[in-house]
């Protein structure tokens, strides 16, 4: 089932000349985990904001084409109506703290109160996301007293609790230690398995390769390619887009060891181990 349809999307920020998004078209199916990669200023964050309606509702500017999420055309809807269908987590966890709540527990409830959920429903959802993102221990703390990593988990939990059909995450693990970001990826992966559609921007390329069903490569506002991680990372022109393949792919490329399909190189640790192991040891 098509969840997100983007047709010839063009966008230019006010008082700039260059298009931030330049004629982008793609579709995303329900339950897919999509990674967006590209160098800085490729348009990744702008694309995220276009999926949730911040472009063009919050940022003005020249807008063309269509973004349709779950049958609703973003431009014709409003941010708060869209917020029930599609959630977004931003890079900076600090500015995602509302500032009006005194505990992590109440903070997560903020969106749920705006949705008009019953108290019972709220309690259930909050307990479940606290557990999923491993922040139950800090639930009574003031949100501003959390570490960057904990704040980032709380920001994600606050959106996941709203149970949107689609969740967009813009570098959601930048402040987390490796274990912490692995846990977050795993939790988001689990949500995607349960049917939530995930769109994630991340520089942690090894994790993107491991968790994404498909990867969208952006460059200067254009969609260069949108394919499986193995296909994307096997491209030999990646460096032209300021992107580097996962270390596993690079090792296999150097050793000229392809996947069984004979076309692509391994993109993940387990694929690389599978391809290489038999050939080194008996």
């Amino acid at each position: 089932m098509k969840k997100i349809v983007v047709e010839n999307l063009k966008y230019r920020y006010p008082s700039t000349e260059k298009l931030a998004l330049d004629d982008i078209s793609f579709t995303i199916n329900q339950g897919e985990f999509i990674g967006i990669i590209g160098q800085n200023s490729a348009g990744k964050s702008t694309l995220c904001q276009a999926l949730v309606g911040l472009v063009p509702h919050f940022y003005q500017g020249a807008y063309g084409g269509k973004v349709i999420v779950d049958g609703i055309e973003v431009k014709q809807s409003s941010i708060s109506e869209l917020s029930l269908k599609v959630g977004i987590v931003f890079q900076n966890p600090f500015t995602q703290v509302t500032g009006s709540k005194l505990t992590v527990y109440e903070e997560i409830a903020f969106g749920l109160e705006n949705m008009g959920l019953t108290r019972i429903e709220m309690l259930e959802r909050i307990d479940s996301v606290l557990d999923l993102f491993d922040i139950t221990a800090v639930k009574n703390r003031n949100p501003f007293d959390l570490s960057g990593g904990q704040m980032q988990r709380m920001a994600i939990a606050s959106i996941v609790a709203m149970k949107p059909d689609v969740i967009v995450l813009d570098e959601p693990t930048s402040q987390l230690d490796p274990q912490g970001s692995e846990e977050v990826f795993r939790a988001i992966g689990e949500l995607s398995n349960q049917g939530m559609t995930v769109v994630m921007v991340e520089h942690k390329i090894e994790k993107i390769a491991e968790y994404s069903d498909r990867v969208l490569l952006l460059h200067e506002g254009k969609c260069v390619d949108f394919a499986s991680p193995a296909d994307i990372f096997s491209r030999d022109d990646l460096h032209e887009y300021g992107v580097v393949a996962p270390v596993y792919t690079r090792v296999c490329q150097a050793l000229k060891q392809k996947n069984i399909d004979k076309k692509t190189y391994p993109a993940t640790l387990s694929e690389a181990v599978e391809v290489l192991r038999g050939k080194i040891h008996d």
């Binding site: 800085n40 930048s174 040891h281």
Partner: protein
């Protein structure tokens, strides 16, 4: 270059964030790693004199941190903050980079020379008159690095330098670290990016709950997989690949692993 003797620190009595740390820093480039909340940032603030130890002493060069102000220490030790917005306040890129050197008493000509060299290192030499607020986040970060390098201190600490950097940005930071090393400077970092640690730092110290639980060459440290797991530190990707391929040795770079596999000649290459 830095001697840390029995240093403890707590904001409130009873909850020590740094527990009795003794460390000596020489010229080896050093990465401090560990889980969120392990005390890494607090430790760096102590080195910089922004916080004073509850007990113990830190000697930088030949002066004790306890007896100097951060402003005086600035001649010897530079710190690049994690969030560039906390640091930038001048109206042009050049002024921003000149601020530190002039503050610590470099004469204007030397300051300008240092500033221009530092900006060249980070690739912002053609944007001297630009307002820093118009730069992208990653360029702002590079600007902050330049504004510390220009102070020409013997010790430079980078707080999470690779956050928000793409491949190109990381390459640049890698080159900067390399050239600082060549100038005999001590480069330290607090960082979560283990792949970056493996490629760029000679020495690694692991923090856990306010203590330095592991300290050694980066290769030695990443060999201690059990202790690392307990401290919730994930080894670099290349180290993991080597491990899962059944190698006993610890790999830190792609090149090492590729060479080893090539010589392990079962593959017809």
């Amino acid at each position: 270059m830095i001697k840390v003797k029995d240093v403890s620190f707590s904001y409130q009595a009873g909850t020590e964030i740094i527990k009795d740390i003794t460390l000596h820093f020489d010229q080896r480039s050093t990465a401090i790693i560990g889980q969120n909340g392990a005390g890494k940032t607090t430790f760096v603030k102590l080195l910089k004199g922004l916080l004073k130890p509850s007990s113990g002493d830190i000697i930088i060069g030949d002066s004790s941190v306890n007896e100097t102000t951060p402003a005086t220490l600035a001649k010897q030790i530079g710190l690049v903050f994690q969030n560039p917005n906390d640091q930038i306040f001048k109206r042009s890129v050049l002024e921003e980079v000149l601020f530190g050197p002039l503050n610590i008493g470099q004469n204007p000509e030397l300051a300008k020379e240092n500033a221009l060299n530092a900006l060249k290192m980070v690739g912002l030499e053609n944007r001297l008159e630009v307002n820093p607020q118009d730069l992208s986040l990653s360029d702002k970060k590079l600007l902050c690095i330049a504004s510390i390098i220009a102070m020409d201190t013997n010790i430079i600490i980078l707080d999470e330098p690779t956050i928000a950097q793409d491949h190109l940005g990381k390459q640049k930071i890698k080159e900067i670290i390399q050239s600082l090393k060549e100038k005999q400077k001590l480069v330290m970092t607090i960082i979560h990016d283990m792949d970056f640690v493996a490629e760029n730092f000679e020495r690694t110290i692991v923090f856990q709950q306010g203590k330095a639980i592991l300290d050694g060459s980066t290769r030695e440290v990443f060999a201690e997989s059990d202790i690392l797991a307990a401290a919730r530190v994930e080894p670099p990707s290349i180290t993991q690949l080597g491990y899962w391929l059944g190698y006993k040795q610890v790999f830190l770079t792609e090149k090492e692993l590729i060479e080893t596999i090539k010589t392990d000649s079962k593959i017809a290459l």
